[in-house]
Symmetry: C2
């Protein structure tokens, strides 16, 4: 293991009935006014809204509702929430939803007590959080992003068409309530997209140096095998509680920093997808499913040691009689075949990209983070988009 | 995944030179007087003492030294430290050493601000920490116990000959400085004992319900494969930094609660070894190496599903043509053969147990925790000791 610094302060309450069991007691630690952040209203249909409101009422809280958080939440939406939270002197942000809702709530919690321009300070480039964000609690209703146990918030700035994300430990939720049963009402496609997003987080972490054997890669391999097993089971039977609960925790473990320790990572598939999403609003996990095989076919020989390990340890491809390069590609093809098996999209056309989509402009907007095996150029990115099309 | 609650507040600084790089800044957050807890003085020989003292001096701290913490620290020693810390109005406990030193420092930090009888309150039975323990920081010089990232402290009460341990999240160190290079001066035997202790922690967690596929077991399997690989490498070449640094982090991951989530666990091998240690003062990892194969041969058919997985996934034993019971035993024998390969002890006689050792009395003192596959009785424990002899 190479050098790292690690912390993760979120307290997790996981399991059936955890909201009923724990939320009331948790609320006692915070002030009177709660900003309840949620999305398009599915929580009103599945009963979660009523349950949470009733616990908030029993706890004597004044609730300020902030709803309508869209997938890929915009910076404008964040600022709207900040205004409301300031006006209402909110003392706790409670986000109830999936990644977009949690990210929006997290961004609001960071921005409310901050005097400067929060976009410039924290998302346009890596900043330093010297102030104390508002306390944030999350109730997870859809898994995949892992936002519940980190300090990252993906925000789309529509003015500059940039979607960005930085992980600040100070922005971790204070508590995360994770009831796998809450995710059972998520539509099958969204479940698969979320699961693939989690798998993507692990792969994007794994496919970077160092190449020597290290604990983070060991755990990443275990999590990838788990996600693949559990996605297969959940695709067959979405009501499989064990598979769904495993997927929920795997999504968290993929993004709670444990597997990132001592890793370089560049998250280039995410960078590419984020920009596609900023222009086309395609579903995040679906975009990733299209990009990954094309991107990995392009870079797998540069990271052949790791891609060969991926083939053998994650996909169980026999090593005997195969060279490293052959194995490396075989691992990528196993991934591509898994994506087809799940029925995930395999072309950008399926995601609403047309001949008129300005792929070159999108490619030029992708941040080239560096650090992974690819060291992609703008031309690489455009060619990947073209092959994906 | 079944229900769980998880938190872990320790901030870890890992890597070469981390003490030099971070300790000074960390000290600024605490008051003037530091209780420096250490053991028999090996840190004075390898230079760590001088380095830490110089950083403490630069930070303007008044240092109160509390040295001579023995392996298997006694309750009497803890109380001595508590007296000293109270008298000197200590504001930070800084433990520099391995598991025993960290545990002693942790116990002191818990006890100092507590009015009642700390043994009765927290170790004789599971208590509830409602007060704020003194802040604790640790500098790890020997790995294995994983005490750096949890709230457990193994303390031996000589009056009642009981060694006990409870994990209270409020007792987690505030920070842990982990420089793998610090562990390079540990004698080879101690390194192997520490590594086996870590492997034991993982096995003791793994060999308990639930039996359905779950994320904690997935990660445990990855960690066991890693410890086995890295112990082999370090046994061959103790100066192998990558193997030693992996072992250091694996020891932490084994005991930072991540692999215990949704698991029952009874830690019966530890319970048995703790009592042997309380009577004979044998080295903890060495005692575990003797006990594990004998104990597991006895219980592996009761937990055959898990022991068979252990054989296949951890030891790579081919599944084909073998029944579950055969596989289960084959996994245990692979472990026994690994213990012999490392040259670890295989009988209690090698650990100083003689015909005069009151094995029956020791067996009767072992807490029967329950929860694992064994459900051992007093008679089982005595028979295990007799076979181990």
């Amino acid at each position: 293991m190479r050098d790292f610094v690690f912390e993760n302060s979120t307290k997790v309450f996981f399991g059936r009935g955890c909201v009923e069991r724990y939320l009331g007691a948790l609320l006692k630690e915070y002030g009177e006014t709660v900003l309840l952040v949620y999305g398009g209203g599915s929580i009103k249909i599945n009963g979660i809204y009523d349950q949470v409101m009733s616990i908030l009422a029993s706890a004597g809280k004044r609730v300020v509702e902030f709803s309508g958080v869209m997938p890929n939440p915009t910076y404008a939406k964040v600022l709207e929430g900040v205004d409301l939270a300031r006006r209402e002197r909110v003392s706790l942000v409670l986000a109830v939803g999936g990644g977009s809702v949690m990210d929006c709530g997290k961004a609001i919690a960071l921005a409310v007590p901050y005097d400067g321009d929060v976009w410039e300070g924290f998302w346009a480039k890596k900043g330093e959080v010297r102030h104390q964000p508002l306390p944030l609690g999350v109730i997870v209703t859809m898994c995949g992003t892992g936002s519940e146990c980190n300090g990252g918030a993906v925000v789309t700035n529509e003015a500059v068409k940039i979607k960005t994300d930085r992980d600040y430990p100070q922005c971790n939720p204070r508590f995360a309530l994770m009831d796998p049963a809450y995710t059972l009402s998520v539509p099958r496609n969204q479940m698969l997209y979320g699961g693939f997003d989690a798998l993507s987080h692990i792969m994007e972490t794994y496919f970077s140096g160092p190449d020597e054997e290290n604990v983070s890669d060991d755990i990443a391999e275990a999590l990838m095998r788990g996600v693949i097993r559990d996605l297969r089971a959940a695709a067959q039977d979405p009501s499989d509680y064990n598979a769904r609960s495993n997927l929920m925790w795997e999504s968290t473990m993929a993004e709670n920093r444990i597997i990132k320790l001592n890793k370089r990572t560049d998250f280039m598939a995410h960078m590419m997808e984020h920009q596609l999403g900023a222009y086309t609003d395609c579903s995040h996990g679906a975009g990733l499913a299209v990009i990954h095989p094309v991107y990995y076919r392009r870079i797998c020989q540069k990271g052949a040691v790791k891609f060969a390990r991926f083939a053998v340890r994650v996909w169980g491809i026999p090593q005997e009689g195969r060279g490293q390069e052959e194995l490396a590609l075989a691992g990528v093809e196993a991934l591509a075949s898994f994506i087809r098996e799940l029925g995930l999209p395999t072309t950008l056309r399926e995601l609403g990209v047309t001949e008129d989509t300005p792929l070159e402009e999108i490619a030029n907007s992708v941040p080239l983070t560096g650090g992974g095996y690819g060291n992609l150029t703008r031309e690489d990115v455009l060619e990947i988009f073209q092959v994906c099309y």
